[in-house]
Amino acid sequence: MEKEKKMKKPKVKLGKLEKREARAGWLFVLPWVIGVAVFMLYPLCQSFYYMWFNIRITPLGTKFIPVGTGNFTQIWLENPEFPQQIVTYLWQTIVEVPVIVVFALMIAIMLNGNIKCRGLFRLIFFLPVIIVSGPVMNMLVSEGAATIPAMNVQSIKTALDNFLPHSMSESIGEIFSNMIMILWYSGVQILIFLSALQKIDPALYEAAKIDGGSQWECFWKITLPTIKPMILLNAVYSVIFLSGNEQNSLITMIKSAMFSGTKEKGYGYASAMAWMYSLIVTLIVLLFFLLLGSKKDIYDRQVKRRKREMKKEARTVKRIERRGIRNAKKIKKARKKRNYRTYDGSGDY
């Protein structure tokens, strides 16, 4: 018991100043905490509850009719549009995310270079994030601003059709139709890469150049490994952005199901759709995490292994020490009882 007490950290009573600072800290984060609780956790729990019901919102009150897994079976078995859209979404996201990330990285490297009017160019590349949102984006798409006129999308689709299944070639073909729009989605990612690039120690490049490293080698050996965590971050951000923006037909479908007046649809049906969709989005995020999640390099692994070995050695030393103490006690006891003899050289033990 005494030992346990010793192991516990002593409770430190906060001083007046620290208490005040802690309170101020809590007050600062309070809006966020309330926001998360009210606008995220509560709707999340609510939608989880809703998905097991058929909900009718009448002027006299809300009717909850339990349907069990009825909403799910209806979505998968009676709504052919949802599975189709999910397949399209999967292909598009898997192809679009690398396009966005690579484009953002290229632009970030260029904007990080020593060029004239660098500030202006940085502003230009971030502008779409501010301007092209919601209805503006919808209008631009409807006016055909998302396509590159010189690109013959139909030929690309036909070519893809020759060696890919139709649903896959159609989805990938759509990416070429919306190429400009996809590139417009890169604003935030460029910013993240830019900040990561600026944090790389210039001494590394200097040392590499002294050793005769080319720009190409510097990119692969210094830049890319250093900003690798940012690639994962940007990939995840892109997946979430593509999955939740207004151009996503699944979002439109969920929204229209939510406000649909038909008796099968409504809040319950839309909630079930949204939960299944979020599960699929999570799976895609996991996929990118598995692909891009940082793996330690050989040096890191060796250090880790050495640390493990050192810990093991320390444990062995402690064990030997403990055994020695135990044996010493045993000998002491036996001596007291006088039945402990040491070897006297007579040949008898």
Partner: protein
């Protein structure tokens, strides 16, 4: 200290912001199902109208300037009633949000009856409607076919805004092509023949097309195929009040497709075909002077062709014709857009709300007020358009005084006989399915539109007749299921056991 004040301010603003988001009435979690027709609350004046000061909310699809002026007239008649109104942007979104937040309107117009019935938005107003003598003088099909009753014994809605289908003919084109103007009580076959005769490609200048369409001919044919003797078709897709029979539709669909494929139909706006024909992607065929017959909406005349100087500018001379019937009979049913209006189930003053509904829709007082507003062309809406050119509907009352005033709003020159004949022949309206048939929209949304029948038949890759059996089976199922759901024990509960069993048998046979 500064930090503390700043954080306090942030937290307070957040909390107050959230408080402001709430509706404050504690929400509606009760579930009584039926309409609250419990009375007027407070004292009653002449005619049973409350003497209390009350406010009624009216949501609609009309021009807001027109409704504001009408609301003023209504408030002059009932000084203790204040009317607040707003335009509905999207019916299901606006109304479901209003129901969830407890701000549901007292009276509203709807374009999709399934939404209103599935969520029990409309209250049963039979008591008020049946007791009102003015309603005896409405167009015959309203009571004959129970438009607004949805094949039940109760009335939930009444047609508020009525626009009959119309066929317009450009007299200039007929003259240029040396053709005869058809008689005003023409038949379907005569119309199709005119479309064919008026299609001419002279290789010099733009081709003449026989037909320019907004309404597909198969929609019109669905009602036109019904002979006045049988008068069995109460709605689209061969609906007779209980069952569908899409064989009527299939004939019209195939005929329309054949006309399109044979080149008798003008290209639509914003298509490559239009660019090839007129040289401009965004040209509308109704402004080319090269199309003889138009299956346009009735409002196209008011909103465009009827505007001063429009026809002169584009060299048009447009006159209306009734949508013809397959049988040579003067009086026949015509398909129409009929926005349904009703009193909401949450309304606390249903009688007063009914009076407002009637005034804004079909009532004689309301129409007299409308005619005053429409005849004064100096009154314009926000777009600067005289109100008679802004979505003016047609009366469903047969009151002569109202009709006299209404007809005076249309051309009084040599086109007058065409207009008079047209008005005389649109007194038996049958609404499009989504206004009047339970389950119709579900059927279209989940079956008919999903498999893209129109596109397949229009392209010539399928025949309409191939879909008749399955589409009829599906339509009957969706209707029966909707009837049970809306009007059975889980809904309004107005169906008898026999009716329920009949609809249940259809559902069971489908499964």
């Amino acid at each position: 200290m500064k930090k503390k004040i700043l954080s306090l301010l942030l937290a307070c603003s957040m909390v107050f912001g959230l408080a402001a988001c709430g509706n404050g009435d504690g929400g509606n979690s009760g579930n009584t199902g039926n309409a609250d027709n419990s009375g007027n609350g407070g004292g009653e004046g002449a005619g049973g109208v409350t003497t209390e000061n009350i406010t009624l909310t009216f949501w609609h699809y009309e021009d807001p300037t027109t409704v504001s002026l009408l609301a003023e007239k209504f408030m002059d008649m009932y000084p203790n009633i204040t009317v607040e109104h707003r335009v509905i942007e999207d019916m299901s979104t606006d109304l479901s949000n209003a129901a969830a937040s407890g701000t549901f309107p007292d009276v509203f117009e709807g374009t999709d009856s399934d939404t209103a019935l599935a969520n029990m938005y409309w209250a049963d107003i039979s008591e008020y409607f049946d007791a009102d003598p003015e309603n005896q003088n409405l167009m015959a099909t309203i009571s004959e076919y129970g438009i607004g009753c949805f094949d039940t014994s109760a009335r939930f809605a009444v047609p508020m805004m009525y626009w009959p289908s119309a066929i317009f003919i450009d007299r200039n084109v007929i003259k240029n092509l040396n053709l005869e103007m058809p008689r005003t009580d023409w038949t379907w076959a005569e119309m199709v023949q005119l479309v064919k005769d008026a299609t001419k490609d002279e290789r010099t200048g733009m081709k003449y097309y026989g037909l320019g369409y907004y309404n597909r001919l198969d929609s019109l044919y669905g009602i036109a195929a019904c002979s006045p003797d049988e008068r069995a078709l109460k709605g689209e897709f061969g609906f007779d009040g209980t069952d569908f029979d899409l064989s009527y539709w299939a004939v019209g669909e195939q005929e329309f497709s054949d006309l399109k494929l044979a080149g008798y139909v003008a290209p639509q706006q914003d298509t490559a075909e239009m660019e090839a024909w007129s040289g401009n992607w965004s040209t509308w065929f109704g402004a080319t002077g090269r199309v003889a017959v138009f299956s346009e909406g009735f409002w196209t005349y008011q909103n465009l062709w009827g505007q001063e100087g429009y026809q002169e500018e584009y060299g048009l001379d447009i006159v209306p014709y009734v949508t013809p019937n397959v049988v040579d009979e003067k009086e026949h049913n015509v398909i129409a857009n009929m926005y349904m209006g009703g009193v909401s189930t949450s309304c606390k003053h249903p009688y007063e709300a009914y009076l407002l509904l009637k005034f804004m829709g079909w009532g004689i007082d309301g129409w007299k007020a409308r005619l005053e507003i429409y005849s004064d062309t100096s009154i314009t809406n926000d777009s600067g358009m005289p109100l008679k050119n802004a979505q003016m509907p047609m009366p469903i009352t047969l009151d002569e005084e109202v009709w006299e005033g209404y007809k005076a709003l249309f051309p009084q020159d040599d086109r007058k006989p065409y207009w008079d004949d047209y008005f005389a022949s649109v007194t038996r309206p049958v609404p499009y399915g989504w206004y009047s048939i339970a389950g119709y929209w579900n059927f279209c949304d989940q079956y008919f539109n999903k498999i893209g029948i129109h596109d397949l038949v229009d392209k010539g890759s399928a025949k309409a007749a191939d879909y008749v059996d399955e589409a009829t089976r599906q339509a009957n199922y969706y209707h029966a299921e909707a009837m049970i759901s809306y009007f059975g024990p889980g809904g309004y509960d107005v169906l008898s056991d026999e009716e329920l069993a009949k609809y249940q048998a259809v559902v069971d046979s489908f499964n």
